[in-house]
C-alpha cells in the first residue's frame, strides 16, 4: 500500500495492493452471506451442502476479510488438517488402497499460502497468532494419531519426524511455525518457545519431534530457551523437594527437555555444550551485575540462579549424552575463581539439598563415560592440601574440603558399586535390567579409567600426602572391578615403577585386599612382567628396577624364613607379606628361564639385577631339562662375564662387580645342588668356559697358542647389530655348545674389512689369581653340594671364600669335571683307556701328547682344576689319558734336556711337580711316590726323569682304576687301600738312589720317602 501525497489538492490517494482488493471486494451483504454459509456449511445461494473443500475455501475467504471470524476459521481449519492427517495415515495403513481423500492437499496448500502471506506481510500481528495455533494443532495431531498403526513409536524421533514431514498437513504447520518463529525471534522469542514447550509438556512424548525439528532449525534460540524453561520449571517444582517424592510431576518437563536436547545433541552438541556451560557460568556470576543483555530473564532471579547447578546436575543425570557432552569442558572451566563462586552460590543452599547434590554429583562422575581421568585429576589436585599453608586457612580451604569430601564419597560410592552385586537401595542406581540378569554392573567411570591404570600407578607412586591414599584405594577398586586383567596390570605397573621399598610396599598393600577375591594374582602379574621383558617394552633402567623389585620381594621371604628359623617361633604364617612373597618367589621360579637372557644383557646393571633375582629366587620344583640346561648355560656364561666385569671395574671403581660375582657363584652353586643333571651341566660348562679361548686370559692363559684367531671377549666388542658373535652367543634351546660353535669366527664382518687383531690386554696377575680362586671356589662349592639337596637350602651355606672345614668333594661331580677336562684337553679318544701302557708305547701318541702339553701350557688353570678333580676321588682316574700324555711329554723333555738343573726349565718343573702332587692327591700314587715332586727343584733333568719314570712304572703296574677305591663312610670319601696293590718298594728304589746321590741337598727330605 502506498500513499501519494501531491501538494495542493491535499488529497490522499490510496492504492490498495493487488489481490487483496479483488478478493476483498465483497460487499457487506456478500460477507454476511459468506458467514452464514460458513456457519451452516450450506451454500446460501444455491442451497446445497458445501464440500469439505468449498467449506475450507469459504473459511479462507472469511479469514481474509472478516477478522471476527478468525477464531472460528482457524478452528474449522483444525478439522480440515485433522481430516487430511487421518486420510494420510489411512492411506499409509492400507497401502494406498483407500481412494485417498488427498485432494485436501491443495486446500492445505492454499491455507498455507494465505497464512504465510499474512505472516510475511505483518509478522507482528500474525506470527504470534499462527504460531500458537500451529503448535497447538501439531500437538493435538501428533498425540491424537500417536496410536495409529502407521505411526512409529514415540521414542524413535527420527522416524516420527520422517512420517510427519511427509504429511502435507503437518509439514505445512511446521513450516508455518518455523516462519513465525523466524519472524518472532527478533522481538519475543520467549513467548513462542514457551508456547512450544508448554505444548510439548502437554503432549509430552508425541510432540518431541516438533521441538526437535524446530530446535535443529533454530539451535541457538531453542537450546537456550529450552534450558531456561526447564530451569524455571525445575525451580518452580522446588529443587529442595526430595527427588523421589515428586518425580511424577517433575519428570514430564525435564524429561522433555532431556529428550529434545538429546535429539539435538546429534547435530548440535557444540551449541548444547556451550549453552550448558554458559548456564553454569552465568549462574555463578555475581548477581551484582545489572542485566545488561535482557535476552533471557533467568539470570536475574536469585532463586533461579541458585537452582541452576542442581538443575544441570539433574539434567545430566537423566541424559548420558548430555553428561558426556558437558563433563569434559566443565572440568576445564572449574578454575579456582569459579570454584570460589560456586562455593559462594552453594553456601546458600540447605544442607539436605547439598547432600543430595553431592550424591548426584558422585553418581554422575561414576556414570560419566569419558573424561574420568581428567575429573579424577581435578578432584585430586583440588583436594590435595596446598603445600604452603599459612597461619590462617586460605579461602580455598572450603573448596578443598568440599573436594576432599566429594572424592571420599566417590570412592565410597564406587566401593559400593564394585562390591555389592545386589541392587543398590539408593534411587540413583535404578537400572532396569540388573536385578534379574546377572550381568556385571557397568560403571563407566571405572571402565574408562581402566585404560589409565599406568598413569594412576605412576601417580600413586609419587607418594604425595593424601593423594596416593586415594589413588591407591581407587586402584584397588579398579582392580576388583576390572578383574584379573586390570589387577594384574596394576600390580605389574607398581612392580615395574617402584623405586624404593616404600613404593614397593604399595604393591603389596594393593595385593592384600585383592588376594581374597582374585586368586592367582601374583603369578599373573609376574607373568605379565615377564611378557614385558619379552616384548622389550621396558628400557634398561626400568628393566633393572623391575628385576631388583622382584629380587627384593623374594629376598624378603628368605629373610623372613631365616628369622623364623632363628627365632624358632612359628610366626611365619602370621605374616601376610611373607606369604605373598612366597608366592612371588614361586611365580618367579616358574619363569627363571625367561630371565636367563637378561643375565647376558649388555647393560651390566640389568644383568646384575637379573643375577640377583635369579640367585635369590627359589628354583622351580620341577623344571624341564631343557629349561634347566638353558639356565645353567646362561648362569655359567654370566659367571665369566661377571668375572670379566669385575676385572674391568676393579680398575675403574670396583664395588658392584664383586657382588655380581658373589651372586653368580651363589646361583651356580644352587643350580648345581638342584639335581645331578644340573650339577653335571654346570660343572661341564664351567670347565669348558674356563678353558674357552675367550675366557682363557681371565685365568692367565694364552689363547693364541691354540687357535689362530684372536679371541674377542664380549666386553671388548661393541654391541653391533650384525655381530656373528652375538648370533653365536644367543642362547637358544637348540644351540649346542660343544666346541665348534665357539670357533665359528671368520675373517671379519663383510664390509668392515679384516677383523682387527686387537692385542688382548693382559689382566693383572692379582686379578688372575683372584679369578682362579673364584673359579676354584665355585667349582668346589658346586662339587661339594650333595646332589638332590635342592636349591632352596643353598642360601644358608657359608661364603665359599672362607672355608673353615672344606666339605668333601663329591665323587660324581668330580667325575663329571674329569670327563669334561678330558674331552676338552684330549679330543682324540684313541688309546683313551684308563690303564697305562709301558712308557715306550708313548711314542705312538706323541702328537696327542704334545697337544695335551700345549693345552696345559696355555691354561695354567688346568692344574688347579685337576686338583679339584683329584680331591674328588676316584675321579682323577678318568683323567688318566691326560695325565699320561702330560707325563709322557714331560719325560721326553727331561730326557732331552741338556740344562744342568731342572730349575732351568721352569714350566716343565712346575708342571711335573703339579702333576705328581695331583696324582698323589687323587691317590693314583701311594704317599711315598706322591712326595717325589718335593725333590724336583734340587735335581738335574735326568734325575727328574728317573723319578717320573718311577711314577709311570708304578701307575702302569697299579692301574688307576676307580674300583680300587672304597667308600669310607667316616670321612665321607673314597679311599684307596694301597696295601692291596703290589709292593711299592721296587718303585721306590730309583728314588732312594737319587736321594743318595744328592744326599747333601736332599737330606732334609729323606723322611718323606720312608716306607
Amino acid at each position: 500500500m502506498s500513499a501519494v501525497f501531491d501538494g495542493n489538492p491535499l488529497t490522499v490517494t490510496m492504492q490498495t495492493s493487488l489481490a487483496h482488493t479483488l478478493q476483498n471486494a465483497f460487499s457487506p451483504q456478500e460477507l454476511a452471506q459468506e458467514i452464514k454459509s460458513f456457519i451452516s456449511g450450506v451454500d446460501q445461494n444455491q442451497g446445497r451442502k458445501l464440500s469439505v473443500r468449498e467449506h475450507a475455501r469459504c473459511a479462507i475467504r472469511l479469514l481474509r476479510s472478516v477478522p471476527a471470524c478468525r477464531g472460528a476459521v482457524l478452528e474449522h481449519l483444525r478439522g480440515v488438517y485433522n481430516e487430511h492427517v487421518s486420510a494420510f495415515l489411512h492411506n499409509l495403513e492400507t497401502d494406498g488402497e483407500g481412494d485417498g481423500d488427498s485432494n485436501l492437499e491443495d486446500v492445505i496448500t492454499e491455507v498455507h499460502g494465505v497464512l504465510s502471506e499474512f505472516i510475511r506481510l505483518n509478522p507482528r500481528a500474525w506470527a504470534p497468532l499462527v504460531s500458537t495455533w500451529a503448535v497447538d494443532l501439531l500437538g493435538q495431531l501428533s498425540s491424537k494419531h500417536a496410536g495409529r498403526r502407521a505411526a512409529p513409536h514415540s521414542s524413535s524421533l527420527n522416524e516420527l519426524l520422517q512420517l510427519w514431514m511427509s504429511c502435507a498437513a503437518t509439514r505445512s504447520l511446521m513450516e508455518a511455525y518455523t516462519q513465525c518463529l523466524a519472524a518472532m525471534i527478533a522481538w519475543c522469542p520467549d513467548q513462542c518457545v514457551d508456547a512450544l514447550l508448554d505444548t510439548s509438556v502437554q503432549h509430552s512424548p508425541h510432540f518431541d519431534w516438533v521441538v526437535a525439528h524446530i530446535g535443529s532449525s533454530f539451535p541457538g534460540t531453542i537450546i537456550s530457551r529450552v534450558l531456561a524453561c526447564g530451569l524455571k520449571d525445575f525451580c518452580s517444582h522446588g529443587a529442595a523437594e526430595k527427588c523421589q517424592g515428586d518425580k511424577s510431576s517433575r519428570v514430564p518437563k525435564i524429561g522433555s527437555v532431556v529428550g529434545i536436547l538429546g535429539h539435538l545433541a546429534a547435530r548440535h552438541s557444540d551449541s548444547i555444550r556451550r549453552e550448558l556451560l554458559r548456564m553454569f557460568q552465568e549462574s555463578l556470576r555475581p548477581p551484582a551485575i545489572t542485566p545488561s543483555s535482557g535476552s533471557t530473564s533467568w539470570e536475574h532471579s536469585v532463586q533461579l540462579r541458585r537452582a541452576a547447578v542442581p538443575f544441570l546436575l539433574q539434567l545430566a543425570a537423566l541424559s548420558p549424552s548430555l553428561l558426556g557432552a558437558v563433563s569434559a569442558e566443565l572440568v576445564e572451566s572449574l578454575r579456582p575463581s569459579v570454584l570460589l563462586q560456586l562455593q559462594a552460590v552453594l553456601q546458600g543452599l540447605p544442607r539436605e539439598e547439598l547432600d543430595n547434590m553431592l550424591g548426584l554429583a558422585v553418581h554422575l562422575i561414576a556414570q560419566s563415560p569419558a573424561g574420568g581421568a581428567r575429573v579424577l585429576r581435578f578432584l585430586a589436585d583440588t583436594a590435595t592440601p596446598s603445600i604452603i599453608s599459612g597461619p590462617t586457612p586460605s579461602p580455598h580451604e572450603g573448596v578443598r574440603e568440599a573436594c576432599d569430601r566429594l572424592l571420599q564419597m566417590l570412592l565410597l560410592h564406587l566401593h559400593k558399586l564394585v562390591y555389592t552385586c545386589s541392587e543398590g537401595e539408593d534411587g540413583y542406581y535404578n537400572r532396569p535390567h540388573s536385578p534379574s540378569s546377572q550381568a556385571p554392573r557397568v560403571v563407566p567411570f571405572l571402565e574408562e579409567l581402566q585404560s589409565h591404570v599406568g598413569e594412576l600407578c605412576a601417580e600413586t607412586l609419587r607418594l604425595e600426602r593424601k593423594r596416593h591414599l586415594w589413588l591407591h584405594q581407587l586402584l584397588c577398586l579398579l582392580s576388583v572391578y576390572g578383574g584379573h586383567s586390570v589387577a594384574t596390570e596394576a600390580l605389574c605397573q607398581l612392580l615395574t615403577l617402584a623405586r624404593n621399598p616404600d613404593e614397593l610396599a604399595l604393591a603389596w598393600q594393593l595385593h592384600t585386599p585383592l588376594s581374597a577375591c582374585l586368586p592367582g594374582l601374583i603369578p599373573a602379574a609376574v607373568k605379565r612382567c615377564v611378557a614385558q621383558v619379552h616384548t622389550h617394552t621396558l628400557g634398561p633402567k626400568q628393566l633393572c628396577q623391575l628385576l631388583l623389585n622382584l629380587a627384593s620381594a623374594v629376598q624378603s621371604v628368605q629373610e623372613e624364613e631365616r628369622r623364623v628359623q632363628g627365632g624358632g617361633a612359628g610366626g611365619a604364617a602370621a605374616c601376610p607379606k611373607s606369604s605373598m612373597a612366597v608366592q612371588v618367589g614361586a611365580a618367579v621360579s616358574g619363569h627363571l628361564q625367561d630371565f636367563c637372557p637378561l643375565l647376558l644383557h649388555c647393560d651390566p646393571a640389568v644383568s646384575h639385577a637379573a643375577v640377583r633375582l635369579m640367585s635369590r629366587s627359589p628354583l622351580p620344583r620341577a623344571a624341564s631339562p631343557s629349561h634347566l640346561l638353558l639356565i645353567c648355560r646362561a648362569a655359567v656364561t654370566h659367571f665369566f662375564l661377571a668375572l670379566r666385569r669385575r676385572g674391568d671395574a676393579a680398575e675403574a671403581r670396583g664395588g658392584q662387580g664383586g657382588e655380581a660375582v658373589n651372586c653368580s657363584v651363589l646361583l651356580l652353586s644352587r643350580l648345581a645342588g638342584y639335581s645331578p643333571l644340573s650339577l653335571k651341566c654346570v660343572l661341564q660348562q664351567l670347565v669348558e668356559g674356563a678353558l674357552h679361548k675367550g675366557n682363557a686370559d681371565l685365568f692367565g692363559g694364552q689363547s693364541e697358542d691354540i687357535g689362530g684367531d684372536t679371541p674377542i671377549s664380549p666386553s671388548l666388542t661393541p654391541d653391533r647389530g650384525g655381530s656373528l658373535l652375538d648370533i653365536n652367543c644367543k642362547f637358544g634351546t637348540t644351540v649346542n655348545f660343544s666346541g665348534s660353535v665357539w670357533s665359528v669366527f671368520h675373517a671379519g664382518v663383510i664390509g668392515n674389512g679384516l677383523k682387527q687383531r686387537s692385542p688382548t690386554p693382559r689382566p693383572e696377575p692379582a686379578s688372575v689369581i683372584q679369578n682362579v680362586q673364584t673359579l676354584l671356589a665355585v667349582t668346589v662349592q658346586c662339587c661339594s653340594v650333595p646332589p638332590g639337596n635342592g636349591g632352596n637350602g643353598g642360601s644358608a651355606r657359608q661364603q665359599p671364600s672362607v672355608p673353615s672345614e672344606p666339605p668333601p668333594i663329591d665323587a660324581e661331580a668330580a667325575k663329571a669335571m674329569a670327563v669334561t677336562l678330558v674331552e676338552y684337553i684330549c679330543p682324540d679318544v684313541a688309546n683313551g683307556e684308563l690303564s697305562w701302557p709301558p712308557e715306550e708305547h708313548s711314542r705312538t701318541t706323541v702328537e696327542r701328547d704334545i697337544h695335551i702339553r700345549r693345552c696345559f701350557e696355555a691354561h695354567p688353570v688346568l692344574f688347579p682344576l685337576l686338583h679339584v678333580v683329584a680331591a674328588g676321588r676316584p675321579a682323577l682316574c678318568y683323567c688318566s689319558a691326560v695325565l699320561r700324555g702330560l707325563l709322557a711329554t714331560l719325560l721326553a723333555h727331561w730326557e732331552a734336556s741338556r740344562e744342568p738343573l731342572a730349575v732351568d726349565s721352569p714350566w716343565q718343573l712346575q708342571a711335573s711337580c703339579m702333576l705328581v702332587s695331583c696324582m698323589g692327591e687323587g691317590q693314583l700314587l701311594p704317599p711315598v711316590l706322591s712326595n717325589v715332586h718335593e725333590a724336583f727343584p734340587y735335581l738335574t733333568p735326568f734325575e727328574v726323569r728317573l723319578l717320573l719314570l718311577a711314577v709311570w712304572e708304578y701307575v702302569r703296574g697299579n692301574g688307576p682304576m676307580p674300583q680300587k677305591f672304597v667308600f669310607n663312610s667316616e670321612k665321607g670319601l673314597f679311599c684307596r687301600d694301597f696295601s692291596r696293590d703290589g709292593d711299592v718298594a721296587r718303585y721306590v728304589a730309583p728314588i732312594h738312589s737319587v736321594l743318595h746321590k744328592n744326599i747333601d741337598r736332599l737330606g732334609h727330605l729323606c723322611w718323606r720317602f720312608q716306607l
Binding site: L10, N24, I35, K36, P67, C69, G71, L74, E75, H76
Partner: protein, 440 residues
C-alpha cells in the same frame, strides 16, 4: 420465572441457551420500553446474560454463530430504544469478572458489524463508547485497529472506510479512542500508517465528522467520569504537533536496524491532518455558539496541553541536536504548536491565559511564530467571545503557507491579505448545514 427459565436453559447446549437468552432479552426489553416510562434492565436478567452468554464456554465456531445471531437480532430490531437497551444489557460494564468476556465478545461483535456493515450495532457501539470508561474504549479501539489495520491490511479500505458514511457517530468515537490510545510516546504507541491514512481521509472528506458527538450531545448532559473526550481534537493536535519529532526518532531506529522502510511517508499525512484540524477548529465557534457553550466548554483541557508540552520537551531532549535536520523538525513542531494554540484560543477551544501559556512554553526552544503567539496583543476576543469578533475576523491571517513553512516567513503584525491566496476552506465555514444533527 427466572428460576424456571434458568433450569431449562441449563439443559440446553451453550449456543441455543445463548440464543434463548437473546430472544428473552428482546421480548422482555420490548415490553419494558412499551410499558415503563424509564426502561431499565433488572439484575436477574443481567445475571442470566452473564451466565449463559458470557460465561459459557463456546467453541470459536459457536461463538461465531452467536455473533451472527446477535447481528441479525440487532438488525431486525426496529426500535432504537429497544436496541440500545439490549446492547447495554449485554455490554454495559458491570465491574465484575464477566467484563473480560464482555469486552472480548463486544470486540468481535463490533469487528464483525464493521465487516458486514451492521449500522445499528455501530450506533449502539458509539453510544457505548460515550458512556464507558476510557480504558475500555481504548481497548475496543485497539482491537479494531489490530483487526483491520494489522491483521487484514488490505481489507480496511472498503470495509472500515464505509463506516464513516454509514455511522459517523461511531467513526467519531473511534477516532477519539484511537487518538487517546496512540500518544506517539513510543513506537508501539504510534498509529499505524494505515490507520493514519484512514483517519486523514475521513476528516478530509468531512471535517465535521470530528464534531459529531459534540453536536449530538445535549448541551446540558454531563459526561460520565473518565469517559472519552467529546471530540478527538486534543488528541489530533497532539498527533500533529508531536509527529515531526516522534517519527523522526522512529525512522532513526528503523534505519539503524537496517530494515527497509516500506511504509508510506507519515509526514505528509500529518501535514494534511494538521490542516484539517485547524479547519475543524475554525468551525468550532459556530457550533459552540449554537449550543450556547462558547467560552464555557474547553474542548482542549489545560492538563492535556501541559502534558503535550512536557512530552515535547522530553522528545526534544531525546533528539540528537547534532543531526542535520533536527532543527527543521523542531521548528516544524513548534510552529504547528503555535498555530494550533492560536487557532484553538481564537476558536474558544482552549480556555487559558497567555500568561499561563508563556509559563508552560518557557522551556521550549525559540520559535518566532510561537513567540509571536505567546506575546501577541491581548486578544480580548478570545476571552470574551460573545462580545468580540467572530473567528471569521481572523481569516485574513496567513495561515495556509505556514503549514508547510520550511522557510520561515517574516511574520508581521500587519497582515498582507493581498499577497496571499484566499483561504481554501473558507467556503466550508459559511452556512454549512449539519447533517448529523439529531433528528429528534
Amino acid at each position: 420465572m427466572m428460576g424456571d427459565m434458568r433450569q431449562s436453559l441449563l439443559r440446553r447446549d451453550a449456543l441455543s441457551a445463548a440464543k434463548e437468552v437473546l430472544y428473552h432479552l428482546d421480548i422482555y426489553l420490548s415490553g419494558q420500553v412499551q410499558n415503563s416510562p424509564s426502561p431499565s434492565v433488572d439484575t436477574p436478567t443481567l445475571e442470566l446474560v452473564e451466565e449463559f452468554i458470557l460465561h459459557r464456554r463456546m467453541s470459536a465456531l459457536q461463538e461465531l454463530q452467536l455473533l451472527e445471531i446477535m447481528c441479525s437480532c440487532f438488525q431486525e430490531q426496529s426500535r432504537d430504544a429497544v436496541r440500545q437497551l439490549i446492547f447495554s444489557a449485554l455490554f454495559t460494564l458491570q465491574g465484575n469478572q464477566a467484563d473480560e468476556s464482555r469486552m472480548a465478545l463486544l470486540g468481535k461483535l463490533v469487528s464483525m458489524a464493521i465487516a458486514v456493515g451492521r449500522v445499528p450495532i455501530l450506533e449502539c457501539a458509539a453510544t457505548w463508547l460515550q458512556r464507558s470508561h476510557t480504558v475500555y474504549c481504548v481497548r475496543l479501539a485497539s482491537g479494531l485497529v489490530d483487526d483491520y489495520c494489522s491483521l487484514l491490511p488490505g481489507s480496511m479500505v472498503p470495509t472500515l472506510n464505509n463506516i464513516s458514511s454509514s455511522s459517523p457517530q461511531f467513526c467519531c468515537q473511534f477516532i477519539t479512542a484511537v487518538t487517546t490510545l496512540y500518544d506517539l510516546s513510543t513506537e508501539e504507541l504510534s498509529p499505524p500508517v494505515e490507520l493514519l491514512q484512514m483517519v486523514v481521509s475521513w476528516i478530509q472528506d468531512d471535517p465535521r465528522l470530528v464534531l459529531v458527538t459534540l453536536l449530538n450531545t445535549p448541551a446540558s448532559s454531563s459526561q460520565p467520569m473518565g469517559s472519552l473526550d467529546l471530540t478527538p481534537l486534543a488528541g489530533l493536535v497532539c498527533w500533529c504537533v508531536k509527529s515531526p519529532l516522534a517519527y523522526r526518532r522512529d525512522r532513526k531506529q528503523g534505519l539503524s536496524n537496517g530494515m527497509p522502510d516500506t511504509k508510506p511517508e507519515a509526514g505528509p499525512l500529518f501535514s494534511a491532518l494538521h490542516l484539517s484540524v485547524l479547519q475543524v477548529l475554525l468551525l468550532l465557534p459556530g457550533v459552540l455558539r449554537e449550543k450556547g457553550l462558547l467560552g464555557r466548554l474547553a474542548l482542549m483541557q489545560p492538563e492535556q496541553l501541559t502534558s503535550l508540552i512536557s512530552d515535547l520537551s522530553r522528545l526534544l531532549e531525546e533528539l540528537n541536536p547534532l543531526q542535520g535536520d533536527t532543527q527543521t523538525h523542531t521548528q516544524l513542531t513548534l510552529e504547528r504548536l503555535a498555530q494550533a494554540l492560536q487557532v484553538a484560543m481564537a476558536a474558544g477551544a482552549l480556555l487559558c491565559s497567555r500568561e499561563d501559556l508563556r509559563a508552560l512554553c518557557s522551556h521550549l526552544p525559540h520559535n518566532n511564530l510561537l513567540q509571536l503567539v505567546l506575546s501577541g496583543p491581548v486578544q480580548q476576543s478570545a476571552f470574551y467571545p460573545h462580545v468580540n469578533t467572530p473567528p471569521l475576523g481572523y481569516s485574513p491571517r496567513p495561515l495556509g503557507p505556514h503549514l508547510s513553512a520550511h522557510s520561515p516567513h517574516p511574520t508581521s503584525r500587519s497582515p498582507h491579505p493581498s499577497s496571499y491566496p484566499s483561504y481554501p476552506s473558507q467556503p466550508f465555514i459559511a452556512g454549512m448545514a449539519f447533517p448529523f444533527r439529531p433528528s429528534h
